[in-house]
Amino acid sequence: MTATALLELEGLTIALKGVDQPIVDNVGFTLARGETLCIVGESGCGKSLTSLALMGLLQTPPLTVTRGMARFAGEDLLAMPAARLRQIRGGRMAMIFQEPMTSLNPGLRIGEQIAESVRRHKGVGQAEARARALEMLRRVRIPAPEKRLDEYPHQLSGGMRQRAMIAMALANDPELLIADEPTTALDVTIQAQILKLMKSLQQETGAAMVLITHDLGVVAEMADKVAVMYGGRIIETGTAEQVFTDPQHPYTIGLMSSMPSLGARSGRLVTVPGTVPQPTAMPPGCRFSTRCPFATGACATVPPLTDLGAGHRVACAHAPLTATEAPAMRSTGT
């Protein structure tokens, strides 16, 4: 995109042993400093695999990155040696996971965990690292941070644990933050607190963020840019405004129609029929074609992600869908 891109992902393709078709197929995006990209999709769409691949945390085997490049400030994350990746991960690139209880070490005090990461990446002494840990707990607004520093993860509530995770992730002033469903396990009032916190910390530090979520509400709240994934591919991407006010792909439309409205009640929900095919049973061509009400013969070839203008890109043979074409399509489709 621009010269200021912090992260450029190109053609990321991930294969699963025993499955012919790639389970993440040709995924790419660019991210500038200070920007938030939300990757949204349902279970099995490949959103988490994409983020794990970026962090070099894919379980290999059975998974392998067969193609792709992830240029992070000039270096390819997918090709660099493990030792170099370890230097970047936790330092210039940090992660927040869904379940802080499984990502925090249960046997280490909160303060020690944060300080350890600071010592490792900043090369500072014990006392300085501890001071930094305290400062971070204060910044994520954990009450009584001096006391929490010496507590273990199990002594904290879910929301406080997620704050501690964020404190740890941000302790080394990362340029890129990858957050995989960071608020999914939390109650709605706690979720609102954490999202607000992530937003304000991001504004302070200017970090770029890749936020993986299944919740369109979180997307609307947080995203500058959106990538909608289905069956391992990005099927629609653009600015949040483009994707929400002018969605183009039938899956995006179906997903948005499936969301119950908070306004006055309006009869039955419009759904997406059927279920996502198993990875071994993905149709050739457009992977949404088995569930799409507009599918025709044209959908048997893989639709390219095509720019409809101003960077709003859609992978659908029928985009832009208009009223004049659609009735004809419907009759051929059934």
Binding site: A192, H214, S258, G263, L269
Partner: protein, 359 residues
């Protein structure tokens, strides 16, 4: 309103094991709940983790025994019924669990799972039961031949359909769902929500839905009870509650929803911090430490549910003087072309489902 299911002063205490030193701690998971659920309505119970909503759901069917209080169904108090009579009544009262992966016995075929409630209640002959299983499978959007398969062969959404078919097998009048769609993906969730609403109409059911997703509740429920630390703090018709909440906690819940409309409004954090420890709830109103409107009386005196008219009750000292904010119109603004596409999609889906039901 004719209540089909009522509770009076329902309470459930959980007592921890006595530690080496000191006393065992007591958690009042449900701390005196009185509700009337009308025949044929969809009644929702919402609240955050630990508010006691799941415990309350289990008490409604007496899946667990209450510490005190009554549960009235058709003139009988479930809380004090002898086991045999209770078992017979369970024919009428059925439960749908949240997790379709752990609530179905993996060693039983789908047919056997759905038939089991009928066998337990001695309903029909074996042939009649088999026919009923096939019928139920079709009703929930599966196929009769699925009866011979096992739960692991199905996706989460399909398993939830199996759970629903099983719940319907004994011909219940009341169906209680504890987060019945929370574990499902959005598109599958919408299918199951539609299914539950269709079944409710077809079988004349009363639905009690426990959930934390306020959008699902808004869509499904006629009336909503909001729980906080074991107590109902507000109970109201869904539309009224969402437009004009009367309890500050209800307002905070609504404010915190991330709305799936770009540019609609940012979620607001009306409350900071976590809910207090239920082992030692604060004195006075349990919500007062987090309440932005709390005054002196809230810190000392516990408010009781008061009738506010219009079928609404609220437990807040300041309910009449506060003017709280609900959800305004939050529909996504869309380009005319996009609105056209949504209409096309809805039409295409309607045509498709008309041609080959079930979806």
């Amino acid at each position: 309103m004719t209540a089909i299911l009522s509770t009076r002063g329902l309470r459930k205490d959980f007592v921890t094991a006595k530690p080496l030193f000191g006393e065992a701690t007591v958690v009042q998971a449900v701390a005196g709940v009185s509700l009337d659920i009308a025949a044929g309505e969809t009644f929702a119970i919402v609240g955050e983790s630990g508010c006691g909503k799941s415990t309350l759901a289990r008490l409604l069917l007496r899946l667990i025994d209450p510490t005190a209080g009554e549960v009235w169904y058709k003139g009988e108090d479930l809380a004090s019924l002898p086991p045999a009579r209770l078992r017979a009544l369970r024919r009428d009262l059925q439960f749908i669990f949240q997790d379709p992966f752990s609530s179905l016995n993996p060693q039983m075929s789908v047919g056997a799972l759905i038939e089991e409630p009928m066998r337990v209640h001695s309903i029909g002959t074996r042939t009649e039961r088999r026919a009923k299983v096939a019928d139920l499978l079709t009703r929930v959007g599966l196929r009769p031949e699925h009866a011979d398969r096992y739960p692991h062969e199905f996706s989460g959404g399909q398993r939830q359909r199996i759970g629903i078919a099983r719940a319907l097998a004994s011909g219940p009048t009341v169906l209680i769902g504890d987060e019945p769609v929370s574990a499902l993906d959005v598109s599958i969730q919408a299918q199951v929500v539609n299914l539950l609403e269709d079944l409710k109409d077809d079988f004349g059911l009363t639905l009690v839905i426990i959930a934390h997703d306020l959008a699902v509740i808004r869509h499904m429920a006629d009336r909503v009870a909001v729980m906080y630390l074991g107590e109902v703090v507000e109970c109201a018709p869904a539309g009224d509650l969402y437009a004009h909440p009367l309890h500050p906690y209800a307002e905070a819940l609504l404010a915190a929803i991330p709305v799936a409309s770009y540019g609609a409004r940012p979620a607001r954090t009306m409350v900071e911090g976590d809910p207090p420890n239920p082992i030692a709830p604060p004195p006075g109103c349990k919500f007062h430490p987090r309440c932005p409107y709390a005054t002196d009386i809230c810190r000392v005196e516990r408010p009781v549910l008061a009738d506010m008219g219009g079928g609404r009750t609220v437990a807040c000292h300041r309910a009449t003087e506060l003017s709280l904010q609900g959800l305004a119109d939050l529909e996504q603004a869309r380009t005319p072309a996009a609105r056209g596409r949504f209409a096309l999609y809805a039409q295409a889906m309607a045509d498709k489902t008309a041609h080959n039901r079930p979806e």
